[in-house]
């Protein structure tokens, strides 16, 4: 299978010589096309730093990140923005929707900054919103809709540009369990039917159990890695819990 993302000996240090924190300490892994990968770890394990490095929001100290064989650690300025715009889609914990725009306009914005023509924009937005079941709230403002709906709007915005890779940072973090479930089903749909490649960071085993592979991180290093294979979600969930226990049980929030 084709490699979408290749992470090669990635290191990220904070602080200075006398007080050095190794947030990421030599991590390497690959993500192939059509995969749904979850990265798990406790608070402070370095998972969000990892995601920030991949999304080019943060700079790496050493190592390489290759997206479709292009080394993004070498990109600068507007090329970085262009990379983010064209190759990546984002889903954030706190939705990051623009509160002054309607749901429709929020989704359309991702396309309009790519200079897609307005007719095409309308078509694609209504298509994706049908698939994510948010057609009826398109004309509402973020403050008028629920958290789950907001996150699905954010999903639609992330996916509407057909990105190579969708990055999700604790997407269920601010949702109640019912909304979380609905969102994760949307993710499954994106992954199965739309063939989107998704990389999700979470500390929640239930959320991670929707993925096809889970990578565990501890103290900035890859600790373990398990594949779902042909297991059903319940069995995979149990496997994840086992690893979490092994990790030291310092993962709170286990359902």
């Amino acid at each position: 299978m084709e490699n979408i993302l290749k992470i090669d000996k990635l290191e990220k240090y904070y602080g200075n010589k006398s007080n050095l924190t190794k947030a990421i300490n030599n991590i390497s892994f690959n993500v192939t096309k059509g995969e749904f990968v979850a990265i798990m770890g406790a608070s402070g394990s370095g998972k969000t730093t990892l995601l920030n490095c991949i999304s080019t929001i943060d700079k790496v100290t050493a190592g390489h990140i290759l997206v479709e064989n292009e080394d993004i650690t070498m990109l600068k300025g507007n090329k970085l923005n262009a990379f983010r715009r064209e190759k990546l889609g984002f889903v954030f914990q706190d939705f990051n929707l623009l509160d002054t725009l309607t749901a429709f306009e929020n989704i359309a914005l991702a396309l309009s900054i790519q200079k897609v023509n307005p007719k095409e924009i309308e078509k694609r937005v209504s298509e994706i919103s049908k698939k994510l079941n948010i057609s009826n709230i398109l004309n509402k403002y973020p403050y008028q809709i629920s958290g789950g709906q907001k996150q699905r709007v954010a999903c639609a915005r992330a996916i509407v540009t057909n990105p190579k890779l969708v990055l999700a940072d604790e997407p269920t973090g601010a949702l109640d369990s019912k909304s979380a479930k609905m969102l994760l089903e949307s993710f499954e749909y994106l992954n199965d039917d739309l063939k989107a490649t998704i990389l999700m960071v979470t500390h929640d085993a239930f959320t991670a159990s929707y993925a096809s592979r889970v990578i565990f991180i501890k103290d900035g290093k890859v600790f373990n890695e398990i594949y779902r294979g042909d297991d059903n979600r319940k069995a995979f969930f149990d496997k994840i819990i086992d690893v979490v226990t092994l990790l030291g049980g310092d993962l709170e929030d286990v359902i």
Binding site: S55, I57, K59, G77, N78, N81, A82, F83, R84, R85, E86, L88, F90, F92, N96, L98, D99, T100, L101, E105, A108, L109, A110, L111, S112, I113, K115, N117, P118, K119, I121, E122, Y141, P142, Y143, R157
Partner: protein
């Protein structure tokens, strides 16, 4: 501890405070400069009469200063309320830590005190430097020579500035204390979380309100600009109120409407960041309709005040050359009886004296016209009982009476013999005329009255003097005047054939001429010396010399210009500062939004362009409306000031534009760069 906290707060939020600080300093500096003018002018070499004018000006300026301090006070309170709002969360944190409201008030008190003291000191220093240049400007305006240049410092102006601004800052402190007292902890902590509710106004209601407001505004424009002569005093106030109210409603409706219109133009709305930019602007204007209205009106006032005052100054200087062709003109009422114009009875001495002419009167004061003057012309003005204002309008009097109820229809018209007028005209370099025995003509240069008389002349209005009837030679009034003045104020003089009037009808004697002496100042001094002659009290002599007209006119022009500049700059500064503060105080909130735009991959260029456009539209919106207002406002001012002539309107409009671009544009650029700095990615 609290002191340390305040100091840290100020340095920390300097980005937010910068423009507030800048405005305060500018305000203090300008306040000082305009109040320090009298000490600056002490060094300038001017005549006594000019000096009196300068004193008049400084008195007027200090009166205007009171008004200015109200405007600045409003600005300071508005700005501090603004900055307070932004810090709600901070105060909330203080309160959860157990700090009392009183302590928070004290922090604010200290902050205001520190800012106040620094801005006063810096502003005064800048003001002192600027006011050095002011003396050159004053000398230039009054066309006087600078005898010497010396560093001056006005203690009174400094004390005044400190007192006025001290009161302002004190008010801010009181205001802050009150608003902290009213706060609730929950509101403070939640204030940033409260997502702004976007209310879309009903588009049909917007269109309806917009059309009605436009109609009212159009009506006010029409009345003020095209029918000003028919407007009564209280009607003028009504027009102003209509203007203000409809401005408010136009801004209210447009803020909703523009968004709706652009939204329907999908190809524009969904291009780049347009949708984002438009929403930003619309929400901003939506929440500030009231202050937008005030800003718009202030800009309107600025433009009108600046351009009118500059044009008054310019056209006055231009008029002088045309209207003061001779060195001296002396005139005197003859054959007076009863009361003077103010209704005061004439004294017996005055009545007795009014039988002799100007020349004899001057001789009585040892002013020998033959020795001192050359090119002397001595003419008389007559009046007739059969030629009152109502008689000269008899054809159309009913119509005119309705339009101009205030004219004094019983006043007698001025009449002059043709030969006398031609003598004067030759001296003044005006056109001379000839008339048949049964013809008359009118000279006038005061626009409003000239138009009216033209109508009558077209109507072939005949007049009767001593039983003989005369018909008009021309269909309009010809330009001309009997005695020099600084403006076009001749409302109409009838020229008739020489035989039409008799000596008994004399009412005024005019003597015009030039000084013989090469050094005009020498004779001028003698003329001014006549004021102290004991004879002058009981005679009705009126002097008007070229030099005195010139000085008065230049002085008046300068006064108007200075007051115009003072008010214009303060208004312009205040309105630009409010806009800048509003924009900047939101930039920090907007930082999140721009960060988000970056996260989804927007180009830095695109973001900067969006920001530039957004601020530009925000600044242009009230300005555009103000410019439209000003077009009609200036037309109206021109009507009021038409005695001053309007040859130089273009120059003054260009000057006004320069002021606008420098001050308003300057604030715009500062705002843009500051907000760009605030939303910059911090890496």
């Amino acid at each position: 501890m609290l002191y340390k906290l305040s100091l840290k707060n100020i340095t920390k939020s300097f980005k937010d405070y910068a423009i507030y600080f800048f405005t305060l300093i500018l305000g203090v500096a300008i306040f000082y400069v305009f109040n320090a003018i009298d000490s600056q002018t002490a060094l300038i070499n001017v005549s006594k009469s000019t000096h009196e004018l300068i004193t008049l000006m400084t008195n007027m300026l200090s009166g205007v200063s009171v008004f200015v301090s109200f405007v600045l006070g409003f600005l300071v309170i508005y700005a501090s309320r603004f900055l307070m709002k932004r810090r709600n969360k901070e105060f909330g944190v203080y309160m959860t830590l157990g700090m009392g409201k009183w302590q928070i008030s004290r922090i604010l008190f200290l902050e205001t005190l520190i800012i106040g003291i620094i801005s006063l000191i810096v502003g005064l220093l800048i003001g002192i430097v600027l006011s050095q240049g002011m003396s050159i400007l004053v000398a230039n305006m009054f066309e006087a020579d600078m005898t010497r240049f010396e560093f001056t410092f006005s203690k009174t102006s400094m004390i005044k500035t400190i007192i006025y601004f001290g009161i302002m800052y004190l008010l801010v402190m009181i205001f802050n204390t009150f608003s902290v007292g009213k706060c609730k902890l929950i509101d403070l902590l939640e204030s940033s979380k409260k997502s702004e509710k976007i209310k879309m106004k009903n588009p049909y209601l917007c269109i309806f309100v917009f059309l009605i407001a436009c109609a009212f505004l159009g009506y006010a424009y029409y009345t003020v600009a095209f029918k000003p002569d028919k407007m009564l005093q209280d009607e003028f106030m009504t027009m102003i109120i209509i203007g203000c109210v409809s401005t408010f409603f136009i801004i209210w409706s447009l803020s909703g409407l523009i968004l709706k219109i652009v939204m329907s133009m999908k190809s524009i709305y969904y291009k780049g960041l347009n949708s984002f930019t438009l929403r930003q602007i619309s929400s901003k204007i939506n929440t500030t309709v009231f202050s937008m209205t005030i800003i718009c009106l202030m800009l309107f006032l600025t433009i009108v005040i600046l351009s009118s005052s500059l044009s008054i100054k310019n056209s006055m200087t231009a008029n002088l050359k045309e209207l003061s062709p001779v060195d001296i003109t002396v005139y005197k009422s003859l054959n007076i009886k009863g009361n003077d114009r103010m209704g005061k009875p004439y004294t017996k001495e005055q009545i007795d004296d009014s039988h002799i002419g100007v020349k004899e009167s001057l001789n009585k004061m040892n002013f020998n016209t033959d020795q001192l003057l050359k090119n002397v012309v001595d003419v008389n003005v007559y009046d007739a009982d059969t030629l009152k204002l109502k008689d000269t309008f008899s054809n159309i009097i009913e119509k005119v009476k309705i339009e101009f109820p205030n004219l004094d229809w019983e006043s007698k018209e001025e009449i002059i013999k043709l030969s006398d007028y031609n003598k004067l005209a030759k001296l003044y370099n005006l056109d001379t005329y000839s008339l048949n025995d049964d013809e008359y003509m009118i000279i006038a240069d005061f626009e409003g009255m000239k138009d009216l008389r033209d109508k009558v002349l077209k109507n072939n209005q005949n007049i009767t003097i001593l039983g003989k009837t005369y018909k008009p030679k021309f269909e309009e009034c010809k330009p001309g005047y009997l005695y020099p003045s600084s403006n076009h104020i001749n409302t109409g003089v009838f020229i008739v054939p020489d035989g039409a009037v008799t000596d008994e009808m004399k009412t005024l004697n005019i003597l015009s001429g030039n000084y013989k002496d090469e050094n005009k100042e020498n004779v001028e001094k003698i003329v001014i010396g006549l004021e102290d002659n004991s004879y002058i009290k009981n005679t009705l002599l009126n002097f008007s010399t070229k030099i005195s007209i010139y000085e008065a006119s230049v002085g008046l022009g300068a006064i108007v210009t200075f007051i115009g500049l003072y008010l214009g700059i303060i208004f312009l500064m205040s309105s630009a500062a409010i806009l800048a503060l509003k924009e900047l105080s939101e930039s920090s909130d907007n930082k999140e939004r721009y960060d988000m735009l970056r996260k989804i991959g927007t180009d830095e260029k695109m973001i900067n362009r969006a920001l530039f456009r957004q601020i530009a539209i925000f600044f242009m919106f009230p300005l555009l409306l103000a410019i439209i207002h000003s077009i009609f406002g200036i037309i109206f001012c021109n009507y009021i000031l038409q005695t001053f002539g309007n040859q130089s309107l273009l120059i003054s409009i260009i000057m006004t534009t320069v002021f606008l671009i420098v001050i308003y544009g300057g604030y715009y650029l500062i705002t843009y760069f500051c907000s760009k700095n605030i939303i910059k990615e911090n890496r």
